[in-house]
């Protein structure tokens, strides 16, 4: 067996996946070739890392952390749309306040001028004559100036 052949099959040799006769040839080559033997040893150490890494111990607070995350997620979701206090009390109350405010301002705007205070009446009377004078000023006079 050549060194190159061994290099191509070493992982299967270490995992004992080669046919019996090839396993024997590999073993023999390793017993007579120092270079290949050193390489096989290093490969074995490398693959052994897999065994040491297997089944790590899990953080004892794994479930506690998970539960907190799930609660956070569902809280942020329901905070605004599914919270019973918000849906059943605050939301209707807010709409009622807006509705009442709308109706009240509508009534106020729609009230006739005579019902209003004298302050408004006076100020309107001051404006009306001025507007009437504007009417008398023709466009010709305006352009002549």
């Amino acid at each position: 067996m050549k060194c190159k052949t061994l290099h191509k099959k070493i992982i299967f040799f270490l995992e004992e996946e080669l046919p019996a006769d090839e396993m024997e040839q590999m073993k023999y080559h390793l017993s007579v070739c120092n270079d290949c033997n050193a390489f096989a040893e290093e490969m074995a150490k490398m693959l052994a890392v897999l065994q040491t890494e297997k089944a790590p111990s899990v953080n004892p607070f794994f479930y506690t952390r998970l539960k907190a995350k799930i609660e956070n997620l569902s809280n942020s979701k329901i905070r605004y749309n599914k919270n019973p206090f918000f849906v059943k009390i605050l939301q209707p109350a807010l709409f009622s306040v807006l509705l009442i405010a709308g109706i009240y301002s509508g009534i106020k705007i729609g009230q006739p001028i005579s019902d209003r205070t004298s302050y408004y009446v006076d100020s309107e009377q001051e404006i009306i004559p001025y507007l009437n004078e504007m009417k008398n000023e023709t466009i010709e006079l305006f352009l002549m100036e």
Binding site: M43, K45, M46, V49, T52, A55, P56, V58, Y63, L66
Partner: protein, 193 residues
Amino acid sequence: MNESEIIQKLKQGNEKAFRELVEKYQGMVVNTCFGMVHNTEDSEDIAQEVFIEVYRSIENFRADSKLSTWLYRIAVNRSLNFIRDNKRKKWAQSIEDVLKGKKVQLNKFESGNSQNPDSKLEDKQRAEMLHQAIDSLSENQRIAFTLNKYEDLSYKEISEVMELTVSSVESLIHRAKINLQKKLFKCYKKKCI
């Protein structure tokens, strides 16, 4: 509680059943994620996402596959997403480093110190080399190899998780081993340990 009882109770929103499920499978899920991403903290974070997905989508779980198969599938997919995101971030970071004129770190795979007598450090370097070799595999080779080596799943079980034929899994693992061997031999030649 047996598996079908757990599933039934989970679908009813039973918290005790969820806790039981998590405690029974957390080791398996964390181990699978670790095999994929090689980092304890990251694998625990991904495992948490796996169980959140289980909690949210237990309704969609059909009894025709095993719970563990479903969990492996979610764990693998979540890990792959993490790896892809991480690659994108690393790429963006390396571009940033280049723009800022920082020296790009040499690949540890090729620059290990062969003179160091500390065996712990050697073990660490070995682990790092092995992880890099695993990372260089194609996605499917990586999944099949991880499930086989970290979780000791049979080719049949892997074929169920990956929804492939047993012979495809066999060939994936065979090619994965050949590729790892090549990488590790190259490294050995360069005396990176």
